[in-house]
Amino acid sequence: MQNLKIASMVVGMSLASSGFAATEVEWWHAMGGANGEKINEIAKGFNDSQDAYVVKPVFKGNYTETMTSAIAAFRAKQQPAIVQVFEVGTASMMAAKGAIYPVHQLMRESGQPFDESAYLSAVTGYYTSSEGKMLSMPFNSSTPVLYYNKDLFEKAGITQAPKTWQEVETTAKKLQSSGVSCGFTTAWQSWVQLENMSARHNVPFATLDNGFGGLKTELAFNGDLQVAHVKKMGEWQQNGIFSYSGRTNDGAAKFYSQECAMFTESSAGYAGIKRNATFDFGVTELPYWEGKVKQPSNTIIGGASLWVLQGHSKEEYKGVASFLTYLSRASVQADWHQFSGYLPITTAAYDLTKGQGFYAANPGTETAVVQMTTGTPTANTKGLRLGNFVQIRGVIDEALESVWSGDVDAQTALNTAVKRGNALLRKFEKAND
């Protein structure tokens, strides 16, 4: 241990000496490929804009790996100042009071100007405390939308994209009679078909404001609406209107190959679809059930946010705060939004993108922003704050698969999932009380 400390000091000193007097801020992230390069560019932009601080981005693998390594580093007292954590890890981060430095507090204590109302509430809502204070800085957020194959629609004589699930059914039938074998497929079934389904209809997914109200929350996704939806999808799986294609976003293959004409997937999937689709495609809002809700609510975000970890010097935190301010600049945000397909986090960035004519030039890219900003988020649409959420999603995946395969009916499957999920919530409550 002692040797390790000395070694890390030596490494630290050699790194520090290369940066002259600048204070170094380490930023662990999970963005590979093109997005990872963009992150380096953003950091470089910040580093070039001033000479007091140097932000050093480090790629740590996928979301899970990044979070796990940050936690392991924290236990060994080697944690970075900033770490990118996916949305399902929010409850775990929040509960770790001694480990995190809430963003609103950091900004205040570092004397950075910080106006929480400048951010899109539908995005920041996921990451705020029950008192409405921002705990982490949203970075890459997305929300599910419906992609559809315009060529196949035209062939089947369909002129309009479906708005409701009823229309999805009739559209799929028309497509099938024109020779398409599958109506639609979905990515991230729990996120799209249960979590966002519930939010869209302003129905709770869990009690106590979807978990925002405390650790005593219980799952509630076995209500009438969700059961009816899952039951219907189970029927659709049998007659080909729906075709299941795995727990992640493997369904993209069925959409690209034109086997399925519609695809519910994250708005951040836009770039990939644009690159791979050999046909004309459109983007429309996530469908809702007509008759179940008058005006569909905003959907919930997915993606990740930046958390600041405890255990660094005041000087470093000043650097973190000024970096977060830089990151929130309209120009930086608009650039990241347009490049990656993730949502803009400030109203200014949205207006700037619109003003630059980006949405007009790239039809479909605005859909998610419009869908996110319909109305004011309610307790049911602000987000989800559930402990052990990763495992709960696993439980939900299993339940849904048992319905798609026709083994179990929707009500029983969701009841079982709620029961198993609640056991996981109680466990989290016990560990974090």
Binding site: F74, S245, T248, V390, Q391, K427, A431
Partner: protein, 292 residues
């Protein structure tokens, strides 16, 4: 015959490197897991509570845990049996090749260099229901392949992916074993009129038994412990619970779910299972092994 050292210290000194490696890389982590299994702890290690046997009780009152055990047994024995029989077949054939022997053998060993997760992805793509060449071929033969929904097919897929890689390893050992079989014995049997099959089953196979036994232990340990990469890259335990093997659950709950107490308890259970299995193998199966 036993060799005795004049000093007491020297044997220990000679054993020290191996003992040190065992202690640092095996005993210490095992002890840590054992300790962790009795605690419930938040992910960051900020608070820790002794919960006694709670983590174990949670497991053993969960019917799904027993199901996962059964799945693990089916998976592990399938991987070991298929992996070994195919490797033996290939080794016997490679042993008879005269021209291009080295190339042939090298090619057969290659898959061992592929990481388990990659092997998983490779087979996953080959079997993809909408674009995988094998799946499309099966479909043209009238078999509907959909491992996203069909648990049995998902199991077959992960068994293939986990086995494929292991075949190379087994092949290497079987080939070495075959080459150590004295030619004179085989020739003598041939002169006495024994056909190739008879020669194999009565002479070669019994002489190979130490290798076979060693591989059985190694393969089962591999299937029990090393295969979470294959599962993670492909089915993630699904559909339903159909490919949720014990070691994947350890990985999922520990590294993804950050539930360290339960994950530690599960690995203790896993260690116990493999320990018991190894004892059984050494006590009952090893008796049949003929060391020359």
């Amino acid at each position: 015959m036993t060799v005795t050292f004049p000093q007491k210290g020297l044997p220990w000194l000679l054993l020290l490197p191996q003992l040190l490696v065992t202690a640092v890389f095996f005993l210490w982590p095992a002890e840590q897991a054992l300790e962790q299994a009795f605690y419930q702890e938040d992910a960051f290690g900020l608070s820790r509570e002794f919960v006694g046997l709670d983590n174990f009780l949670d497991l053993f009152t969960d019917p799904l845990y027993y199901q996962s055990m059964l799945t693990t047994l089916v998976f592990s024995f399938s991987v070991a049996i298929f992996g070994m029989s195919i490797a033996l077949l290939l080794a016997v054939m490679a042993d008879r090749v005269i021209r291009g022997k080295l190339t042939y053998q090298t090619l057969l060993i290659w898959p061992y260099a592929v990481a388990p997760a990659l092997a998983g992805v490779l087979w996953w793509i080959l079997f993809d229901p909408s674009m995988g060449p094998i799946a499309l071929w099966l479909e043209s033969m009238g078999l509907d392949w959909d491992h996203y929904l069909n648990g049995g097919q998902a199991m077959i897929l992960v068994v293939i992916a986990a086995t494929w890689k292991q075949i190379s390893y087994n092949f290497l050992f079987f080939l070495a074993g075959l080459q150590a079989v004295p030619r004179s014995l085989i020739e003598a049997a041939a002169i006495d009129g024994a056909g190739p099959f008879k020669r194999f089953w009565t002479i070669v196979f019994p002489l190979l038994s130490p290798t076979t036994f060693f591989l059985l232990v190694i393969n089962l340990v591999y299937a029990f412990f090393d295969t979470f990469g294959v599962i993670d890259a492909t089915t993630k335990g699904g559909p339903g619970q159909s490919t949720n093997i014990l070691v994947y659950k350890v990985f999922e709950d520990g590294f993804v779910g950050l539930d360290l107490g339960s994950s530690a308890a599960q690995s203790v259970v896993l260690m116990a299972i493999v320990g018991v299995m190894t004892v059984i193998q050494f006590r009952f199966i090893e008796r049949k092994v003929q060391y020359s």
